[in-house]
Every structure is written in structure tokens, then in C-alpha cells.
């Protein structure tokens, strides 16, 4: 299979912007949708559209089957032990907030400590700040070095008996380096501290085996994974989920409701109050089958690697007056996903993005929801180029050429 075969599965890629073919390089924010996923979403909305679990009629049972079989597919995809450990949410942000609230209400007390890292997305910072404010707990931060590596040694000194949770990203949405999450989990577990892994970027390019990684929570979104927006997953170990208080109250999450007291539904229903995103969640099945297909295609993987290598080396080689400074420089055998955040000397990130846009290239500019990281590197923002398996060598070459033109316009 070739990259061009993959492109055929994503109809949005065929469009033109400003009479130029679209080059979509903002995949770390939102990927394009698989045609199969859109068709499934459409089919469910126009066909088997009924609320799940509740009614006995045919449509409801078809809808329930679509939804619950997705849970099985996700369990298998993550290699979780049981389907009760897979919760559907609206995305990574909702997943993390669920943990921050429910785990926080159950286990966090005044003076307890939570650790995050300096390279987290705002979604993996703010929910913990809110929790710390509520509970008078303390938020601590693992720093990163100049190349963008987590300072694991700092974690060793930050971890104490008061640490109740460590929340780190598998891959930063700015730096792209695959963090040593396994090492972090082992370290934390040796101190009896559970770990939440933000998998928003990691699930797309690295994947996860939650039993092998042994993390306590793992969160990701469907919209970065070629599925419908408003879909997401929280994996949580049963031993935590069972003890955690519910996040939201409502229909479907209850055992029995009396004004004298309500009992809660068993997992996973306890955490899925109200009508779920029933038409959209099943599109995660399309993502999963797409990923398993491309991951075992060696020919395609080789082609993707060559695009990645071309981009990385081309950007690294831009020196001189308008030098490109790349953030997140992998060392040794360390892996970096095909995501490149950079600044160009003498050219503002926003100007570059604006000009590239008129050339038909969609890139991201600004703080990328990681303001502490921008402060860490002393920049007001960066340009980010993030690739998906449908981005071709021709697009990469066109981008490098266009970047040169944009820089010369600005310099």
C-alpha cells in the first residue's frame, strides 16, 4: 500500500483552498476523517438512531450493539483487562477532568501532592490546578531540559509519600518526543503512586498496551485519530474506577434512585451519565481497523519514514540569518513522532502561518495550548507542522520550498 492509497480514504484531502491543493499539516490538532467513519456516523444518524441500553425495540438494540461493540474493540486495541475499564467521554480533556474530579473527590486531601510536567497541554494542567484549589492540595512540576526531555531525576526527588497522582503526557503536542512513560510508571509505582498518561498524541503514532505499561489511567481523543469529533476514551484500572465517586449524575449511571438515596450502576455505566455520543462513538472502530491495517504494512511504513526523515533533516539544515530552531530534539534511539515545532529567526510564527495558509498549507502557530512550555523556551509562540499517514513526500517538498519563500518575504 502507498500513501496515495491512504489519501483515497480521506475525501477532505482532495479539496482546494485559495485555488491551490490543500496541504493539511495540522494533524496534531485535528486529523481529517476517514470516509468509513463519516459513513458510519451518517448511517447511524439516519438509520439506527435510538438511545442505547434503555428500550427493547429493534433500533435501540442495533444502536446499543454498535456502541458496546466499540467498547470491546477499544479494550482489545489498548489490551485492557476488561471492558469495564473502558469509558467513553467527549475527548481527552473530558477524560482527564473526569479523573481530576472523581479520583480527586475520593482520594485527595489537604496537603496531598499531584505532579505534572512542564510540557503538558493545558488540558493536563488546569484540571489539576482546579482540583488543588478545591482540596488545598499542592501541584508540583517536573522540568524539562533544553532539548525537550523530561528530567526524570527531578521526578525522583519530587515523589514523596504525599504524592497521590502523577499525570504526564506520553508525547508532548509541541515537542513530539516519546516520553519514557514505562520508566515513570515503574518509578511511581515503587512509591505506591498511580499514574495518568495523556495519550492524545501518543495513541496516534505510538499506541499503547495498558497492561504492559501498567499505567492507572490513559486518556485519548477520537478526533485526532481520524474518527468523529466529540469522541474520547478514558481507560482506568478497575480497582480505581470502582472506588471513585461518579463524575456526573443522571440517567444510565444509576442502580436505583430513591429520594432516600441512590445507588450507582456498575462500571462502566457509573461514569457514563446521560445520553452518550451514540452516533459518533462507533466511528472509533473505523480508526482502530485503519490503524491496525497501516501498522502492519511495512511498505507504507517505509514510505512514511522517508517523508518524516526528509522533513526533519530539511528543517534542521536551515541555518544562517533565518535559522530554524527546532524544539524537541531526540537523542540516540529516542523516538519522535512526525511533528515539528520551530521558530524561524527574523520571522514571526503568526506571519509564517498566515502566508503558508495562502499557499494552501495548513499549519499551526501560537502557543499550542502549552503556555508554560513557551515560557520555558522564552518564545511567544511557535510554528507547528504535524503529519499524518496521508501526507506525501511531494507535500513535504512543497512545504519546505514554500517556507523558504515565506521567510524571504518576511525577512
Amino acid at each position: 500500500m502507498t500513501i496515495n492509497d491512504i489519501r483515497d480514504m480521506f475525501p477532505a484531502l482532495g479539496q482546494q483552498v485559495y485555488s491551490r491543493p490543500l496541504v493539511y499539516f495540522d494533524n496534531a490538532a485535528t486529523s481529517q476523517r476517514l470516509e468509513n467513519a463519516v459513513r458510519r456516523l451518517d448511517g447511524l444518524a439516519l438509520g439506527a438512531n435510538a438511545n442505547i441500553h434503555r428500550a427493547v425495540h429493534k433500533l435501540a438494540s442495533d444502536a446499543t450493539e454498535e456502541y458496546e461493540s466499540t467498547r470491546d474493540a477499544v479494550r482489545d486495541f489498548l489490551n485492557a483487562e476488561s471492558r469495564e475499564e473502558i469509558l467513553f467521554t467527549s475527548g481527552t480533556t473530558a477524560s482527564i477532568n473526569l479523573v481530576a474530579y472523581s479520583f480527586g473527590e475520593t482520594f485527595i486531601n489537604e496537603g496531598d501532592e499531584i505532579i505534572v510536567s512542564e510540557e503538558e497541554h493545558h488540558s493536563n494542567i488546569v484540571p489539576w490546578q482546579l482540583l488543588c484549589e478545591r482540596k488545598k492540595a499542592v501541584l508540583k512540576v517536573i522540568g524539562i531540559d533544553d532539548e525537550g526531555h523530561l528530567k526524570i531525576d527531578e521526578l525522583k526527588t519530587l515523589l514523596t509519600s504525599r504524592t497521590k497522582l502523577v499525570a504526564v503526557t506520553q508525547v508532548s503536542n509541541v515537542l513530539g518526543i516519546v516520553n519514557p512513560v514505562k520508566q515513570i510508571v515503574n518509578l511511581c509505582h515503587s512509591m505506591n503512586c498511580p499514574v495518568l498518561v495523556d495519550g492524545a498524541q501518543g495513541i496516534v503514532h505510538v499506541g499503547v498496551d495498558v497492561r504492559d505499561l501498567d499505567c492507572d489511567f490513559y486518556a485519548f481523543s477520537g478526533h485526532k485519530l481520524y474518527a468523529a469529533t466529540g469522541t474520547g476514551v478514558l481507560y482506568g484500572k478497575k480497582k480505581w474506577l470502582e472506588k471513585m465517586v461518579p463524575f456526573m449524575g443522571g440517567g444510565e449511571m444509576i442502580g436505583s434512585v430513591k429520594f432516600t438515596g441512590t445507588t450507582y450502576a456498575p462500571l462502566p455505566g457509573k461514569f457514563e451519565a446521560g445520553t452518550q455520543n451514540i452516533n459518533a462513538v462507533p466511528t472509533l472502530k473505523d480508526s482502530i481497523s485503519f490503524l491496525s491495517m497501516i501498522n502492519k504494512d511495512d511498505e507504507l511504513q517505509r514510505e512514511l519514514r522517508s517523508v518524516d526523515e526528509y522533513m526533519y533533516s530539511s528543517l534542521s539544515q536551515i541555518k544562517g540569518e533565518n535559522e530554524v530552531r527546532l524544539f524537541g530534539v531526540p537523542r540516540g534511539t529516542e523516538r519522535k513522532i512526525p511533528l515539528y515545532s520551530f521558530v524561524v529567526q527574523g520571522a514571526h510564527h503568526e506571519d509564517l502561518a498566515l502566508i503558508l495558509d495562502k499557499m494552501g498549507i495548513a499549519v499551526r502557530s501560537g502557543q499550542m495550548c502549552a503556555e508554560p512550555l513557551m515560557d520555558r523556551f522564552g518564545v511567544t509562540g511557535m510554528v507547528r507542522v504535524s503529519l499524518a499517514p496521508y501526507n506525501t513526500m511531494a507535500e513535504a517538498e512543497y512545504f519546505i520550498k514554500s517556507l523558504g519563500k515565506a521567510v524571504s518575504m518576511l525577512a
Binding site: Y18, A347, H348, E350, D351, A353, L354, I355, D357, K358, M359, G366, T380, G381, M409, L410
Partner: protein
């Protein structure tokens, strides 16, 4: 100098020379590069325009009844945009600027072609220019040339006006608004009209309107004064360092 309408038409004509937006950007970049230099030490927090993603500083001054702008930005296209606005509006009567609808921006299609964050930034720039213009409307007398005799004649009026302002007390603190440091500017022109710019200790003061009216009345009642305009501002925000010696003693702070 061109009239405002002529200046706008010139920009519209310049823009219409280019079909492609890339070329229009190039034109904006050139404008940005050629913008008069903005002093580094004036790149202060209070000169920053809020609501822009990139940083934009805008400063103004009134000279001979006309309002002049100076600006800078760390992003060159944004700098081009503010330069374009300055080229049209700088050096004009503040009232004319404050009352303009800035509609020519729509005619060149600039707003529609910016990213949403930049489009908002453009709106913020226009708002700030209008705000500065409105603030300057009452300050045209600053451009008035005073002779030594005029100054001598006005001096006792200043004393009396200050006395009158000192009759007005803050509703919450037992100190008059003058010693509290709430009066930022006080100007009396040759026609003996008074222009005051003042603030409050907090933007949420519920008695603000009453206090403003009281200041206005107290000053207007001073013999020889023909009128009084009071304008409210929160730039810069008030803080304790603005208290007078007397106020500090009154409040037992020293």
C-alpha cells in the same frame, strides 16, 4: 495633507492593484517594514493593545489639536496593518477619527482574509485608535499657546479649582478625591473652561456617577470658570502610591 476620504481611497486603490492575497500581504509587509521606528522604552504594558495574538503597541500624542500615532508589532503583517491604519488616521482631528466608521477596511476585504484571531486583533486596533481619539477630544486646549500673561491670569484659577475639587470626598475613604490622587489631569484653557481626567480607586465603584457629577458641579461653581468637563479613565489603574502626603497622614499610613 489629504483629506480622510482621500487617504482611504488611496489605500483602496493600492489594494486593488493586487489580485492575489499573497501580493497584498507583500504590500502589507512592505508597509510594516517602512513604519517609523517606535522607541524600545515605550514598549510598555499600558501601550499594548489587548485582544491581539501578536503583540501590538500603540502610542499617541496631541499636537496643535491633531492626534498623532506611533505603533509597533513583533509580527510584520500585523505591523503592516497598524501602519496602514496610521497612514490614514495619524495627524487628524481627534473628533474626526472618533466619529469615523472605519468602513474602508471592509472595502479592501482585509478583515475577511485574516485568521479569526487576527481579525479580532484588527477590531481591537480600530477600537484602541477610536478610544485614544475620544480621550483626546477634550484635550485639544493642550495645543493652545499660552503667553506669560495668560499663565499669570490662569494661576489663581488653578488654585481655586483645586480647592473646589478638594471639597469632594471619596464615598468610602475619608479623604478628598484630590489628595487621594484620583485627578490625573487638570487643564484650564483661555476661555476658562476646565478639563479634568480622573479615576476611581476601583473600576467597580457604585457611586462613580455621583462623584463625577459632584466634581463637575463644584468646579463649575468656582467664580470665573465658564464650564467643566470631567472624563473617567482607568489608565493607569490607581494605586496607593498616588496618595498625597496629607492623605497618608489622614489615613495614618506614615
Amino acid at each position: 495633507m489629504k483629506t480622510l476620504e482621500e487617504a482611504k481611497q488611496a489605500v483602496i486603490d493600492d489594494f486593488s492593484m493586487y489580485d492575489e492575497w499573497l501580493d497584498k500581504y507583500e504590500y502589507l509587509i512592505d508597509l510594516g517594514k517602512n513604519l517609523e521606528e517606535y522607541p524600545e522604552d515605550q514598549k510598555t504594558e499600558d501601550k499594548l493593545i489587548k485582544g491581539c495574538q501578536s503583540r501590538v503597541w500603540l502610542d499617541s500624542k496631541v499636537e496643535d489639536g491633531r492626534l498623532f500615532f506611533k505603533a509597533d508589532s513583533d509580527a510584520i503583517i500585523t505591523k503592516g496593518i497598524i501602519s496602514l491604519l496610521i497612514s490614514v488616521y495619524s495627524g487628524r482631528n481627534p473628533k474626526e477619527i472618533a466619529e469615523d466608521d472605519f468602513g474602508f477596511i471592509g472595502e479592501i476585504g482585509l478583515k475577511e482574509n485574516l485568521s479569526p484571531t487576527r481579525a479580532n486583533g484588527l477590531v481591537s486596533m480600530i477600537e484602541r485608535i477610536k478610544e485614544l481619539a475620544r480621550e483626546s477630544v477634550g484635550h485639544e486646549p493642550q495645543g493652545e499657546v499660552l503667553t506669560a500673561e495668560d499663565a499669570k491670569e490662569l494661576a489663581p484659577l488653578y488654585d481655586n479649582v483645586i480647592m473646589a475639587i478638594k471639597q469632594v470626598y471619596d464615598p468610602e475613604i475619608p479623604v478628598n478625591v484630590y489628595d487621594l490622587g484620583l485627578i490625573y489631569e487638570l487643564v484650564i484653557n483661555k476661555k476658562h473652561e476646565v478639563f479634568i481626567k480622573m479615576t476611581f480607586t476601583a473600576p467597580t465603584c457604585p457611586m462613580a456617577d455621583e462623584v463625577l457629577a459632584e466634581v463637575k458641579k463644584s468646579v463649575a461653581d468656582v467664580p470665573g470658570i465658564t464650564g467643566c468637563e470631567v472624563e473617567l479613565t482607568f489608565e493607569p489603574p490607581w494605586d496607593q502610591s498616588m496618595l498625597s502626603e496629607e492623605a497618608r497622614i489622614e489615613l495614618g499610613m506614615d
